[in-house]
Symmetry: C2
Subunit: 360 residues, 2 copies
């Protein structure tokens, strides 16, 4: 029996992914050169489909990296001269802060406790800050920032680059991309693909900043520096031999999502999310970790489990359903439930019913 | 009809790879967490099998990157303070030199023309050089350095780190690893896997050098810096969500190779290579690009095609066989034939017979 993975990433494959993998093998996609016309066409199709799904405006571009972790490094190297500002409320927003600091930047830390979130509207950022980093959806805790708050932050800081971690929330979160400058995500979350590919969205302002640092001799020039990624992206290629399979699969899954309709996908996500939080609110042994309702992630539900998570997770696993464990310090104390586009309403109902039926 | 890819990378899948991909799907390998016990066990098995296949001595370790291109960057950042020396005889050895230079190192260039190779035994390297880079198998031209010459170079320069590009020749080339310090390869060549994974072998001397640079404040600290890769490798993990599928597949294919026997695989490679160079030597329109026999690559045969390569490549493609085009400046002038473990003797015989039968 194949298990249903409600883990927050890697997660269940998108329900069409297996067939696309078989087609990739059948059509020799795994053997083609990344400099061939066939690859260029696959790359272009993937990027154009993604731009359509996300409604990216002109002046926004898409590059590929090996992971979102790599994007933290490249942003820090290529878009920050000296000062960055980091809203931190969990492990992943903290790791971006750490990456910038490790690379010698004056990375200002604005930290609130895990499970809570910042008041972005009231935030005062020093004038000399060049780039603001935040996690729209903090995968470790299930705390989400409302898009309206992010937009208010940008309006209050129009001249600073805004970098948004949407690793586990795209394409569910609906952005007006013109209100942010760069965003990144991983394909093993909401897109339901094998791990090993990060997607980096950046706008012309990012390119200008990188160019400015380059001219000032302050640019860290690597094969996957922003300007190198962009140079190849303009030719529908990558700077090194990429994960061709995943770029192909991403294009196919995005097309499936376009066919289904992004509004439909988002409506289903809202319905399934309501099921999850209703469970957390009503079950006597579960408490939603994120107390303030407006900060509760749609795509990752996190609950504290009275008496520990182990018994519940193990009983669910016996029924063929894997949920995520708590992250880092919360291992054994929390469960995390992914609510991704591949998880059907019926699967989520079954999960909730099962949890209600288990004695833990 | 699936084509046979004799292209030098990405190339044909190893003949068992398709079944392993199907098993990976069946066994949920694409959905497991890279922090789970199941992943740790897969990672450990892959590394241990590889160590066995390559006969790695104690004090040699294996890390994973997204590509061999990434390894050029990490070596330059973490193993060179100021001075490196690069034997360059084609595009890939040149790119390593370029990476070190781009990262601000005094990267000394020792260049011979493509298709030829250096006299490593006579080479005199300045005392202040910390690391020597060379391509044992230059994928762009099919020029190979004999292992005995590389060992002589090391004996003459015992205190310099020796970094070997074996991107397209492992596991065919048989090294005494104690005579080199770090080596890297890509899985989409001789291992016949989908692209998107690089393998980095390094010894304790590399770790000591990185540690020394760190203590001197000259270390570039990133998630995939050498010390970070090694810290996670010790726990059978990676520093970020890796290409889990490829790490699993690599382990499976290496086990298949161990079952077949590495000696048998190398003998077959020698036989197929003899077929290729016999074709080049006897066909009136083909001339081996590497004239000196001792420098002719076993795994990549490159020939100049009188009158241009296009007609031949197209006729072969019509017969279901793809060979590689010339690299960069040699596109349209050369063909490149990969002779990897997945290419059977029968396939190579068919390719040679077909070329002999085509009017081009």
């Amino acid at each position: 029996m194949n298990k249903i993975f409600f883990t927050p990433g890697p997660s269940a494959l998108y329900f069409t992914a297996e067939q696309h993998i078989k087609n990739a093998i059948k059509n020799d996609i795994l053997s083609i050169s990344h400099r061939s016309k066939q690859y260029v066409s696959i790359h272009q199709e993937t990027v154009e489909s993604l731009k359509k799904l996300l409604n990216l405006p002109d002046g926004y571009h898409i590059g590929f990296t090996s992971s979102a972790t790599e994007v933290w490094e490249r942003i820090s190297e290529n878009l920050i001269d000296q000062n960055s500002y980091h809203f931190v409320n969990g492990s992943f927003s903290e790791k971006f802060h750490q990456a910038a600091q490790d690379l010698g930047k004056n990375a200002i830390l604005d930290q609130v406790k895990p499970g809570s979130n910042h008041d972005l509207i009231a935030a005062v950022i020093p004038d000399n800050v060049e780039l603001i980093g935040l996690a729209q959806n903090e995968t470790s805790t299930g705390a989400m920032l409302p898009v309206a708050d992010i937009e208010a932050l940008k309006r209050n800081n129009p001249n600073k680059l805004l970098a948004v971690d949407s690793v586990s929330s795209l394409p569910i979160t609906k952005y007006d991309f013109s209100m942010l400058d760069t965003l990144y995500f991983s394909v093993q979350k909401c897109f339901g693909l094998p791990s090993g590919l990060g997607v980096w969205i950046y706008n012309d302002k990012c390119l200008e900043k990188a160019q400015k640092l380059k001219e000032a001799g302050k640019y860290h020039n690597t094969y996957n520096s922003l300007l190198s990624i962009d140079k190849f992206a303009q030719k529908h290629q990558t700077s090194c031999t990429p994960n061709v399979l995943n770029i192909y699969l991403l294009g196919q899954v995005v097309k499936d999502m376009l066919n289904k309709g992004i509004d439909q996908i988002r409506q289903e996500a809202a319905y399934k999310s309501a099921l999850i939080y209703n469970l957390f609110d009503t079950h006597e042994k579960l408490t939603p970790f994120v107390t303030e309702k407006k900060f509760r992630s749609v795509t990752i539900g996190v609950a504290e489990v009275t008496g520990g998570a182990e018994k519940l997770m193990s009983a669910l696993s016996d029924k063929g359903m894997n949920v995520g464990s708590g992250y880092s310090q919360f291992k054994g104390k929390h469960i995390r439930i992914a609510n991704f586009p591949t998880h059907s309403k019926e699967q989520m109902e079954m999960l909730v019913d099962s949890i209600n039926g288990i004695d833990f």
